[in-house]
Symmetry: C2
Subunit: 342 residues, 2 copies
């Protein structure tokens, strides 16, 4: 029922070794031979047996996704993207959820990837932002691709797929400015996240580009939570209007914060967007479940993850891969929570 390499060899009239070569994109196979084999592969719908490959070879056909992130939507998207790349390339995916705060987490992860003979790792924050952790892994000759916030890779430890939160945040802030706002507050997420830092930088850059002076009363240091949004917005909206401090727009570091801010505004009978504009970031399902729906920035996580995983697989295979995009800029999604003052 299931075709083996032997069937392919017979059908195409070559040895199994040659079939193996074709399947692994090895050089030293004549073009004609290659095509014959590929035809047979197609006809028999042959797919190499992963178990046999893993057993026989010194190479590994398994990559892992090591994560620790409370945002289920993010994780699922990443995972599905990675999975798509794996399926395409005949790789296996080991999922490894874990607690990045745990004492011996690095050793634990190393153990797991040794045990399972993992060839490479896709890392997302917070792991991707921890150079010590990354170094420990790459020192073991295990390939790594990191997905992280920024515009260029921070070091040479591994290839990175960058998410340019800064530019995106600048775009969002500019959107607010274009709407006529000049008192724009920023509710930050936890400062331990690079994404917070980057988004903040983008916000500041937009202000600067438009000659709007930064007012530190309009900066709230929060964390990535609904509650933080509620408190931040409350604090902001109780600023003295006479002193011209009270903002007419709030840029929240993510959608959850924005939802909280939205909620607080509602509590204070401030109508959105007539009296106050609120923007989020992430385009999580959350942002469509608020009322009004949130203006936000969309990052195509599935696509990012798929690309990162393909990159990783090319690395593992020692093939080059030219059509990788190494920087993504989240795109502005304008919905109903931002508008001109009226």
């Amino acid at each position: 029922m299931k075709a083996t390499i032997n069937d392919v060899a017979k059908l195409s009239g070559v040895s199994i070794k040659t079939v193996s070569r074709v399947m692994n994109n090895e050089p030293s196979v004549r073009q004609l031979t290659r095509e014959k084999v590929q035809a047979a592969v197609k006809e028999l719908n042959y797919q190499p047996n992963l178990a046999a490959r893993n057993l026989a070879g010194t190479k590994s056909y398994t990559i892992a996704y090591v994560y620790d992130n409370p945002n289920a939507y993010y994780v699922i998207d990443m995972q599905e993207g990675i999975l798509a790349a794996c399926r395409q390339q005949g790789f296996e995916l080991l999922i490894n959820p874990c607690d990045s705060q745990q004492e011996n987490i690095t050793e634990d992860v190393i153990n797991t990837i040794k045990q399972a003979r993992v060839a490479g790792l896709v890392l997302t924050p917070p792991f991707s932002e921890n150079p010590e952790f990354v170094k420990r892994i790459t020192d073991l000759d295990i390939h790594v691709v990191r997905i992280m916030s920024g515009d260029t890779a921070p070091d040479e430890l591994s290839p990175c797929v960058m998410v340019n939160d800064r530019d995106a945040a600048q775009t969002i802030t500019q959107h607010l400015i274009d709407l006529g706002h000049n008192k724009i507050a920023f509710i930050a997420g936890g400062a331990e996240h690079m994404s917070t830092i980057e988004r903040y930088k983008g916000y500041r850059r937009a202000l600067k580009a438009n000659n709007i002076e930064f007012n530190k009363n309009l900066l709230i240091e929060g964390e990535y939570s609904f509650e933080s949004g509620v408190n931040g917005a409350k604090q902001l909206m109780s600023l003295d209007n006479a002193a011209e401090d009270r903002p007419s727009a709030i840029f929240s570091c993510n959608d959850e914060i924005a939802a909280g801010a939205l909620f607080a505004a509602r509590l204070m009978n401030i109508s959105i967007p007539e009296q106050l504009s609120i923007a989020g970031f992430e385009n999580s399902p959350f942002s469509r479940q608020t009322w009004p729906k949130l203006t936000t920035a969309n990052q195509p996580n599935k696509e990012i993850a798929k690309n990162a995983a393909s990159l990783l697989i090319s690395q593992v295979r020692k093939q080059k891969n030219n059509n990788e995009i190494s920087q993504y800029v989240p795109q502005l999604v304008v919905r109903d929570s931002t508008g001109q003052l009226s």
Copy 2:
């Protein structure tokens, strides 16, 4: 570095075949021998090579989680539970996200599980609620364990882990009644979900047990969405109060609906819980991100999934497994969105 079966055989002074027997819990091994081997296994920290097992044996050590569910929190919890069981038992997990509405989905899934030599499937709604689908799989001698809503398995196709939404819904409704409410509305989720039906039944049963007459104006047929909660609550709260139709409590079929209802109440300047109690269901992270926080019912998804997966693995191994719980009743979590009328 990594111990093989050979090392264990040498250390314990038996043949590799005997070690294999011990590792697979096969009979026909003397107790003394078994212990010797187990000691060696422990000393060498030996773990059988999955690839070799899969390649050599006719048995498979892979189970799959086939899902199609928009609720990322649910999926992640399920997946992590299944993963935990797999790790414990030395199984491999194949993750298979897919679209249950797709034309040839059944064939696709069958193809995948044949290709990967999957021994068993963990199914959650909507797949677990589709008997045709389940039958197609079990006809192939592939083991299945279903997680679904109800109190007893609907058929003999496969073992089931039941989530007794009905009893839980009754408990929630009773909680509302105990608080003094007797005009309790129900905003349903999509009727194609068993969970909706079950939760509705529990609601009706609680009414009946307390001699409260069912008022069909208080039943809103919605779907599992925020918007549905908004619309449902609006409709309910505009009911004529004079006719004594307007509810003082709303039982929403899940947290998302409840969040919508909460939001609508806020829009109408109805204070929660002073003027209206709202209960959700699911205890999703969502329910802690509303204000006030939602009273809801908690289902320990991770644990349910872990149990279901262990059950599946026992089936696959043809071992019996007595300590499985086959029914879970979600527990009432009282928070701030329900209270007495004041």
